[in-house]
């Protein structure tokens, strides 16, 4: 059976044509984008690749992909012909018997236009029905968007080459050449040669006025975009026009960049007055059923004082917004409160955008100070700023309070959220919360969504199901108008038209009907224009100045603020308002809200048409200007950060985009909008990858911070490794602030991953780097860190590395922080290198004394005393302990003084001085009071050893038990082992076999850990048989029985 050939058109709006019939495509943008991607790329793709291209990680991407593929099969597959071929892993589009316009053109022009006959070029030119995938924008999915932009640029260059060739070849047919020359300037407006050629052709054809207009437009464009080359163009224009006998162009246009513009709001109020309805209010035709349902719902809400939500769904242009406005008007007439906020496709990363617009409907004075402060993150004009400890709960609570207050003062309250298929996640969470917390209040929430696009927003889908579970949601389908209603609508606009013919074309879609009624192109005999063509035709009738303003508006977004347009066009506000008023009369724009300074497009179809007709290079330059203009705006507006990120991304300026994504991501985190923050972070990382390393490293660190703060990464180790590499690179690049930032982030990730030891190390590195603003501070910090680790017997390898590095760096610049020899001395003691330790501790004492640092001097001297005790040099230990006591009195607060007294008493106790017993007891009490467990435990363990020697096992056991508890509290392994050995010895002495076994097992278990030389010697001593234990000899550093020296 023969199948009709299939054509896929991507030059212009995406279309699939079989035979002569254009097939209806799924409404979901992502589904259409998937089809376009598969068809144009022409190769197999892994499912994961397609998922990451078009769906968020958190939205069941594989499920969404399967759903989209099932929709597309119904379009492209035929009985016996499978074009979408899939298996578990791969998806591919089979091009057999399928023509794709852009691929066909590219194939034929692969070797250039020169060898292609003119007739064929004309046919190929007709394939260019518009921009590549016109209107199919997915700005949140930057990979797809980047691919689309790149393909668009390729198609544009191909089209430009083709047009240039045709302009040349059709010289003998001026009208045909002129048409192509105009098109060329449209798609490549920055091509000076093309514009000069067009002006020349126009001048030659005697169309002087148009030649002049084109010249003016070109100069204005270059001025607006700050682009170079205007001098050349000016000269060329003057030559051409002089040749045609036309007066030269003026030096400047109607711009006045220095005039002080009146505040826009005042001008707007003066010229248009308050409560002006944009575009002219039109009577609502039809919709009786829908309005009746909504009014009944409103009555029920008031009567029962129970909140409800209503979702209106319908195709684009069917009139959902008009119905919402009618209900809003009803509520106002009842004296109620209306809060309105539309969602915009391009603002999906602007958290709470529609809620901000809705709450702005309230006067700031109606919101109290406390609530105003809590709302300040969203609406700075409502309060001075959030208090410390502000949270998402407080923010949400404040919105609920505002709604509750309005319910009390001006019920019912109607919250209108339009185009919720584009609602951001943060707004959806707030919506659910507001509904939940206001269930027993007369509140009606009216939502409108395009049917078919709800599924593109998985979060919306979930939110609606949640509202369904709360049993507060009703749904109304807004269907196309009936024939009679369509006729009534058309008659209002253009009584001369045959309403039946219009109905046949528009199918009851009110927007299409109105556009047809307004369109001059509409003709009974000609082919039916599409809605896009109709709108394009209307836009083309605007003056060049109106078209310029409209283009800037389209670049800014579905809604735009007048002051920004003034800055971009370099026109004064009165003039811009004048222009906008004229455009408004064409029904293309309307005021965004009464008395405000913003306009919005009458419908996003209008905006899309205007935007699509701007060439890609010009668009990029315009977006760049918008991004830099918004960034330079004084004060912080909630919208600005995300807006800048959006425009910078579309400008293709990677540095600006990445930086803007950082600011926007942080802004979202402040508003607790974590999913938006995560999306922005991903976008920013994509742009940061394109930057050179010195810029890429710090931006990537900041973006990873935002991403990991927004959501715990699934693979912490992978991210941690990446952050570590970046932090090290930041250090190498001298970006110390970012290096510190990176190590702090790494520490946090290690904590999250349960790797506490690693976390501590990274925190320390962060601290070290943070002190690295000048080298001495950093070296001191390293020494302090080494000392800390050595005193706590932690990471001794690290401690030594830090101390050695600090020592080496210090020697290079001639400084010697006191912590360095102290740390090295402690490490030598631990290793049993007592002679080296003594020298280092002596050096520490000298340095500390010079700096009058009594605490460090004490620490050094106490270790010398302990070292002498370890050596068995009792007399020397006692002599030094007397000096230690004197030094201890200089340390104001702490355990120094009692410890010095304890050491002195210990020396006398070891020497057999009975009077020392009381002094020892008193100093131990003082150490207990001071709660200095290490020092207390040290003295107790050594005293216990002496007690065992004297056969006083009871006192020994008591002291050693207390010492063990103290050592365990501090987790000091060496001291734990020494205390246990003391207990062991006491148990041996009293022949307590059970205790003996227990302690021996524990000691043996700890013997493999990193013990001090003193502890290792004690362990060896314990293990040796009693007969073979060598007698103690004074002066030996290793294998000494501690605490007992020569008498």
């Amino acid at each position: 059976m023969a199948h009709d050939p299939m054509t896929v058109r991507v030059l212009g709006e995406l279309a699939v044509v079989r035979g002569k019939r254009r097939l209806p495509l799924p409404q979901s943008k992502k589904t259409r984008a998937l089809l376009a991607y598969l068809v144009v790329s022409g190769r197999p793709h892994r499912r994961e690749r397609l998922c990451s291209l078009l769906w968020d990680v958190t939205d069941d991407p594989r499920g969404a992909l399967r759903w989209s593929l099932s929709k597309l099969r119904r379009v492209v597959d035929q009985p016996g012909v499978r074009r979408l071929c899939t298996d578990r892993d791969l998806v591919v589009f089979d091009h057999t018997a399928v023509a794709v316009d852009v691929l066909a053109v590219a194939r034929e022009l692969a070797d250039g236009c020169e060898g292609v006959p003119t007739d064929r070029l004309v046919q190929l030119e007709a394939e260019f029905r518009g921009e590549f995938l016109e209107g199919l924008e997915l700005p949140d999915f930057f990979e797809f968007q980047s691919w689309c932009v790149a393909e668009r640029e390729q198609a544009r260059l191909l089209h430009a080459r083709l047009l240039e060739t045709l302009v040349d070849r059709l010289r003998e047919q001026p009208e045909e050449a002129l048409r192509r020359a105009r098109q060329l300037v449209d798609i490549d407006p920055l091509n000076e040669a093309a514009r000069v050629r067009l002006v020349r052709l126009l001048a030659n054809a005697g169309r002087i006025a148009e030649a002049r207009q084109q010249g003016e437009a070109g100069l204005r464009l270059f001025r607006e975009l700050g682009s170079a080359g205007s001098a050349e163009v000016q000269r060329a224009y003057q030559e051409v026009l002089a040749g045609a006998g036309v007066p030269p162009l003026p030096e400047s246009g109607r711009t006045n960049t220095t005039a002080a513009a009146a505040p826009v709001r005042e001008v707007l109020a003066a010229t248009l007055g308050a409560n002006t309805c944009g575009g002219g209010a039109r009577t609502l035709i039809g919709r009786t059923e829908e309005l009746r349902t909504l009014h009944e719902t409103l009555d029920a809400v008031m009567r029962a004082r129970r909140a409800r939500a209503v979702l209106l769904t319908g195709e684009p242009g069917v009139g959902k917004t008009r119905v919402l406005r009618a209900v809003a008007e009803q509520v106002r007439q009842r004296g109620g409160t209306v809060l309105e906020g539309p969602a915009y496709e391009l603002e999906r990363n602007r958290p709470y955008g529609p809620w901000i617009d809705a709450l702005r409907c309230l006067p700031a004075v109606s919101v109290g100070d406390t609530i105003g402060a809590d709302l300040a993150p969203l609406l700075p004009e409502f309060g001075p700023g959030p208090p410390a400890g502000h949270s998402r709960e407080r923010l949400f609570g404040a919105v609920v309070e505002v709604v509750a207050a309005r319910v009390h003062t001006a019920p019912p309250v109607l919250i209108v959220l339009d185009d919720v298929q584009w609602l951001d996640d943060a707004s959806l969470e707030l919506l659910h919360y507001v509904m939940r917390m206001n269930r027993h209040r007369p509140l009606l929430v009216a939502l409108a969504a395009r049917s078919g696009e709800v599924s593109d927003n998985a979060s919306l889908d979930r939110a609606l199901r949640a509202l369904g579970r709360l049993e507060v949601l009703d749904a109304i389908s807004v269907l196309p108008l009936s024939k009679d209603d369509t006729a009534a609508l058309v008659r209002e606009e253009n009584p001369d038209l045959d309403p039946d013919e219009v109905f046949a074309q528009c199918g009851g879609n009110p927007l299409f009907a109105l556009e047809l009624a307004r369109s001059r192109r509409y003709s009974r005999s000609g082919p039916s224009p599409t809605l896009v063509e109709i709108v394009r035709d209307r836009v083309a009738r605007l003056s060049s100045e109106e078209a310029d303003v409209l283009r800037w508006g389209a670049v800014l977004g579905p809604a735009f603020r007048v002051p920004v347009v003034c800055t971009l066009t370099r026109l004064v506000s009165e003039h811009v308002l004048d222009v906008l008023e004229r455009i408004q009369r064409h029904g293309l724009v309307r005021e965004a809200s009464a008395g405000g300074d913003a306009y919005r497009f009458a419908h996003d179809v209008v905006r899309n048409v205007v935007y699509a007709d701007i060439s890609a290079p010009r668009r990029r330059l315009m977006h760049h200007r918008v991004a830099t203009t918004l960034r330079a705006e004084p004060g912080e507006r909630a919208a600005t950060a995300t807006d800048v990120a959006h425009h910078a991304a579309l400008a293709g300026n990677a540095a600006l985009a990445a930086d803007a994504c950082v600011a926007a991501g942080r802004h979202c985190l402040r508003l607790f909008a974590v999913r938006e923050a995560e999306t922005l972070a991903r976008q920013g990382l994509h742009f940061a990858e394109q930057l050179p390393e010195p810029d890429r490293v710090p931006l990537t660190l900041e973006l990873l911070h935002i991403s990991t703060t927004a959501r715990k990464p699934p693979d912490i180790d992978a991210i941690a490794a990446q952050v570590q590499h970046l932090a090290e690179r930041a250090l190498d690049l001298g970006r110390l602030e970012h290096a510190r930032f990176g190590f702090n982030l790494l520490s946090h990730l290690r904590w999250e991953g349960g790797n506490c030891a690693e976390a501590r190390e990274q925190m320390m590195r962060a601290e070290l780097v943070s002190r690295a603003s000048d080298a001495p501070e950093r070296i001191t910090a390293m020494g302090d860190a080494a000392r800390c680790l050595a005193m706590l017997e932690r990471d001794l390898g690290k401690a030594e590395a830090l101390a050695r590095e600090a020592q080496a760096r210090g020697e290079r610049i001639g400084i010697e922080p006191v912590a360095v020899p102290l740390a090295l001395g402690l490490l030598c003691v631990h290793a049993g290198q007592l002679d080296e330790a003594a020298a280092l501790l002596a050096r520490t004492r000298a340095l500390a004394a010079r700096e009058q640092d009594h605490v460090v001097e004490f620490q050094a001297l106490e270790r010398v005393v302990m070292l002498e005790l370890q050596r068995g040099q009792l007399a020397e230990a006692r002599r030094l302990s007397v000096e230690l006591v004197r030094l201890g009195t200089k340390v104001r607060e702490g355990s120094e003084a009692p410890f010095a007294r304890a050491l002195e008493a210990l020396c006398r106790y070891a020497a057999g001085d009975t009077a020392a017993t009381e002094a020892l007891g008193a100093s131990l009490d003082a150490l207990r009071s001071a709660d200095a467990k290490y020092r207390l435990g040290y003295v107790l363990t050594r005293a216990a050893g002496i007690d065992v020697e004297r056969g006083d096992t009871r006192t020994a056991r008591a002291r050693a038990t207390e010492a063990l508890a103290a050592a365990r509290a501090l987790d000091l392994t060496s001291e734990i082992v020494l205390a246990e050995i003391a207990l062991l010895r006491a148990a041996t002495a009293r022949d307590d076999g059970r205790a003996l076994a227990s302690y021996r097992r524990d000691v043996e278990r700890r013997a493999c850990s990193q013990l001090s030389a003193e502890a290792r010697a004690a362990v060896c001593q314990m293990s040796a048989p009693a007969a073979r234990r060598a007698p103690m000899r004074p002066g030996t550093a290793r294998r000494r029985r501690y605490g007992v020296g020569d008498r």
Binding site: M764, E767, S770, D784, E893, Y934, A966, D971
Partner: protein
């Protein structure tokens, strides 16, 4: 673990945020000593302050405070009474 109370007095009113920042920067040191900051009480004239930590002993807190250069008058272990 013990509850350690640290008393501080200042001749001129203290910049609490600066002090807190100093402690934050030394978080690694507090962590090494197994010290957890719990809360702070600051007098209205900002000249007296009491900080409460959880730590193995008071000496650990003293050592860390000195290491970080944060002045204090006394540090002692206490018990919370019902």
């Amino acid at each position: 673990m013990a509850l350690v109370i640290v008393e501080r007095t200042f001749e001129t009113p203290i910049d609490f945020e600066a002090l807190h920042a100093l402690q934050d920067r030394g978080a690694w040191c507090l962590d090494l000593h197994k010290i957890t900051f719990l809360c702070t009480y600051l007098s209205i004239d900002r000249r007296r302050m009491v900080c409460v930590y959880e730590a193995p002993d008071a000496e650990a807190v003293r050592t860390a405070q000195r290491q970080l250069g944060i002045p204090f008058d006394r540090a002692w272990t206490g018990t919370r009474l019902p």
